[in-house]
Amino acid sequence: MFEFIKKSRGILGMNSRNLEYIRPYNRACAKKLADNKLLSKKILKKNDIAVPALIAQIKTLEDLDIFDWQSLPDSFVLKPNRGFGGEGIVVIYGRKKNRSDAWIKADGSIVTIDDLKNHTRNILDGSYSLSGIPDIAFFEERLKLLKLFKPYAFKGIPDIRIIVFNKMPIMAMLRLPTKESRGKANLAQGAIGVGIDLASGVTTTAVLGKQKIIEYIPGTRLLLSGIRIPYWMDILTLAVRSQEISNLGFLGVDIAIDKERGPVILELNARPGLAIQVANLDGLKGRLKKAVGIKIKTLKKGIRVGMDLFGGEIEEELEEISGKKVIGTVEKVKLIGKDGKEIEVEAKIDTGADWSSIDNELAKKIGFTETIEEFEKLKMPYEKLKNLDKEKRWEIYKNIPDIASTIPVKSSNGYTYRPMINVEFIMDSIIVSTKITVIDRSHMQYSMIIGKVNLKKFLIDISK
């Protein structure tokens, strides 16, 4: 029991969030800015921060009466200015064919001008605003879904929530809309939250709704961990910049990635929710306590320190998460050649080389003696070969037993063509089946090098 309470100390609860973070760090005027979407949009834009473009706004019932609905583009989003938790937002995907007064919503249902008018009236009435006060409705550009996210997101657009404190990114999560959340990226409504490693921008653990820990998108085999968020540095920069601009000391920034425009800020949040902790399986309070005393002078340093302090500690976990093995610059490799002949060698990992290669003698040891001897016998000069096209060249070599192809290789005495053979090798328990170049490495320290084509399943740690 005592242990349990001690362990929970790193978690940020509601009481502490309100009393120790929101109250002292988020001034009333800064909170007002965050709660007013139009105002925060305007101020962010003034500071050259990318935000979804504003199409039009309706402030009063008179505005509503004279509003020209035909002036709206084919796709747009209708939002309440002071809405929260994603309520009251209507996403329009396109115009209904053959009708001038109707559009199609995210779920395929039809929305008429009358529906939109009614919804706008409800917004103006304050049905979706924080305390029921009269509100403004506005139309903004609909962001386009990034290809990467397509299989993961149901209907809506995923966004990335980042907690910023003391000019540092503290914690981040990717929010994926689901069928249950009706296309909204809101965890309270049943969206998926996926934790993100701050240092790498790669997703880690995931939660469905408020509490259920999951590994895959429900009903699919889509793994939620190991997704690399594109534009990661830009996203962190945007997040910290928006804290500087908004003056919210304890800030939750929502950033979406548009297919064409890249990362844009959707919303600033003065009262960020606590579910991000479950998505990351880590407490916020522990991180906030670490961050509080550090003096951050520049934006770059804030991001750097945040990434170092709160990300990247998960090196061993990285293998699990990314599905990639972490290897050093020299690795033991078990080479499997013709007729299952095996030999274990030390190979040099060389990201400068496109293909992997082995020494002539090594190739012979694993059963390709005949191949190499036949190849050498032909003694074709490079000058002659280089002018031939692929088919002609292959015509010369195709009768050599077990040859897979040929490849030009640069060595100390100019270019030569070298044979390639099909082998399999096992490195760090992963089996790689590949074409490999056979060259003369007798004067080199390692009889095998592993090049880029065979390194896709590995991450290299130069200090290992």
């Binding site: 349990f4 362990k7 978690i11 009481n15 502490s16 938790g85 009236r121 979706y128 479950v278």
Partner: protein, 221 residues
């Protein structure tokens, strides 16, 4: 219940002698205690309900109805009608206040029918419930609809159940003989709720339900 059998603080005797009804004094003294109790449930246990005002009023409505079972019955009927009417009115797409007004009308009618019905069955308990507690409970409809719109059906039902639980607990707390004796004898102890609330207001620990909510994180660390 024979009031004179209580041992009583001299201040209260003074009040009674000036003609303030005992029941009124009792309820007023109970109010800060119930309020503190609700604050405690929110800050330490994590039961949210519909804020502090609604569960407080419902508690007192329960105290004023003849026996808690009628109170609970009226509460549940109001919530059920709220849910049904939302479905029924959905296709009309009405604005907020007219929608609430319609719901209030239906709830009022329904309660009227219920009162008449129970009267005809000679179940006078319900029919003799005074009108103010019923009116207080009807205002619950607005709270319920507001949450329904903002956070959806599930959240509204959840918060309504929490409100019901708090109100029932509050009812039993306020009907607890020993507590009543105590505050009648030491009415000034209600002042103790102020420092108690200062402590609650500075409480930054996890709420009990947050230990549950974040259980996975605690397990993992």
């Amino acid at each position: 219940m024979n009031e004179t059998s209580f041992s009583m603080s001299p201040i209260l005797t003074f009040f009674l002698n000036t003609g303030v009804p005992f029941e009124t004094i009792k309820l007023i003294l109970m109010l800060p205690i119930i309020a503190t109790f609700i604050a405690f449930l929110r800050q330490v246990v994590g039961i949210k309900a519909f804020g502090i005002y609604t569960p407080l009023l419902i508690t007192f409505a329960f105290l004023a109805t003849n026996g808690i079972k009628y109170g609970i019955a009226i509460f549940i009927i109001i919530i059920l009608i709220g849910m049904l009417m939302r479905i029924a009115l959905k296709s009309f797409r009405l604005l907020y206040l007219p929608r609430v007004a319609i719901m209030l009308t239906i709830v009022a009618l329904f309660i009227l029918i219920m009162l008449a019905f129970s009267g005809s069955l000679k179940r006078t308990g319900l029919a003799s419930v005074s009108i103010f507690p019923i009116l207080i409970m009807i205002t619950l409809v607005e709270k319920f609809i507001a949450v329904q719109i903002e956070k959806g059906d599930r959240a509204a039902i959840f918060l309504a159940s929490e409100t019901l639980v708090i109100s029932i607990l509050g009812f039993y707390l306020a009907s607890w003989e020993a507590l009543i004796h105590f505050i009648i004898f030491y009415p000034w102890i209600i002042l103790l709720t102020i420092p108690l609330n200062i402590v609650l207001g500075k409480w930054t620990g996890l709420r009990l339900n947050e230990y549950l909510r974040f259980g996975e994180i605690i397990k993992k660390s």
